[in-house]
Symmetry: C2
Subunit: 243 residues, 2 copies
């Protein structure tokens, strides 16, 4: 985002707590998932060590992260699962119902509309729009696909909070502009392009091919380190112990 919370408005009160670091925010959903799973298993207390294992991070980091939210643990015991779920949910704003609009009803749009993980965390897909008139009218996950022409009306009528762009790169910027003009200030972009937005609008990007490229970089690097086995076909290099 381009917003900077260090410039305070004169009138507005606020950060009594020094603001949660970005890196911590990015891990809270992971903790939340681990905690939810533990709760479903009937666990009612977790130590930072156990939570760390479940989340795939170190225990010091769990404690540091959680300390930014407050002192919600008990020394000698650990964290009460339900209470911590509540606190993290509140911090993330999941106690409210977020209305999400998906633009693009291709395979990815379908996948997103059908994704169960949204509803359980308070995200409600209120509409699915598509540019292709042929797809308008289809029914996906209880939603009827509407025309992107109605974007402004849908945003206004449904009170959309978050726009998801699941469409080709060449349509992304124009659609994003329309969302922003209609009042949307949070956008999740799956199109492989950089979006320009005014200050105060937050865009997060998920780029599938970027992820593969990062994997390729590391894999290449490991292959070089293990000194380029000249074995044709599958290279079953003993990485585990070599590194």
């Amino acid at each position: 985002m381009s917003t900077d919370s260090s410039t305070r408005l004169p009138g507005a009160a606020r950060p009594l707590r020094p603001a949660v670091p970005e890196a911590t925010v990015a891990r809270l959903p992971v903790y939340l998932r681990a905690l939810t799973a533990a709760a479903e298993d009937g666990v009612d207390t977790l130590s930072s060590d156990e939570l760390a294992t479940a989340a795939g991070v170190g225990s010091a980091m769990v404690r540091k992260d959680l300390s930014h939210l407050g002192s919600y643990g008990t020394r000698g015991v650990g964290y009460e699962v339900d209470y911590l779920i509540y606190q993290i949910s509140r911090e993330l704003g999941l106690t409210q119902d977020w209305r999400v609009l998906i633009v693009g009803a291709g395979n990815l749009g379908h996948a997103l509309a059908n994704y169960g993980g949204f509803a359980s965390r308070g995200f409600r897909v209120v509409a699915l729009l598509d540019l292709d008139a042929a797809r308008v009218g289809e029914h996906i996950a209880g939603l009827h696909v509407d025309s992107v022409d109605r974007l402004e009306q849908v945003v206004a009528e449904a009170g959309v909070h978050i726009g998801v762009l699941a469409l080709p790169a060449d349509a992304a910027q124009a659609t994003c502009d329309r969302l922003v003009a209609a009042g949307v200030t949070s956008v999740l972009n799956f199109a492989p392009c950089v979006l320009e937005v005014p200050a105060g609008v937050m865009v997060r990007k998920v780029d599938l091919s970027t992820e593969l490229q990062i994997l390729a970089f590391h894999q290449q690097r490991r292959v070089f380190q293990v000194e380029r086995h000249p074995v044709a076909g599958r290279s079953r290099v003993p990485l585990a112990e070599a590194l």
Copy 2:
């Protein structure tokens, strides 16, 4: 990953260059995309400033990032687009052909199999497997959906480098174990769970609901900062100038 390159093997030579920082690696694909777009527009030189704008970062960061790869710019002029595309591609390992296996032929698997951005960057989807026998035999993007039972054979025969998990969380760990046992050392996980893998195997996670939760956090925060307008329905708060 769990590997640490600071522990050097006694015999192996290596890092003549101090290794590219992780944060830089994550941005190289973005630069690459911007450069490719520029090349298609017939541009043959870009300054760090222009590249920065196209990539959505600051120009100092572009220069610092590129300096980790070597001195590929010309003072007073900028970077030659084609040459830089080549250097970044080489660094990322995109000059080789990466064979990708997608497990899970649901909507997300379909979307991934159809995604054009892979092929253009040297990623070739060699197979699409599914757990659901009913889906086996379908044809997607020129691929016939095969049974997950054949995972090991496909990995061996096609020489799979990267496994992509596009399946439900409860099947992810077991499938990942099979990929790893079959020799795959890079995994891209779309399932909403933490995967345990041995050292030497790299997992990257893409989690759709995590991204929404991060957006929700920031949006909530902004709404609080602007002091909770009691306007019902759409809240058209003047965020841009308020922050």
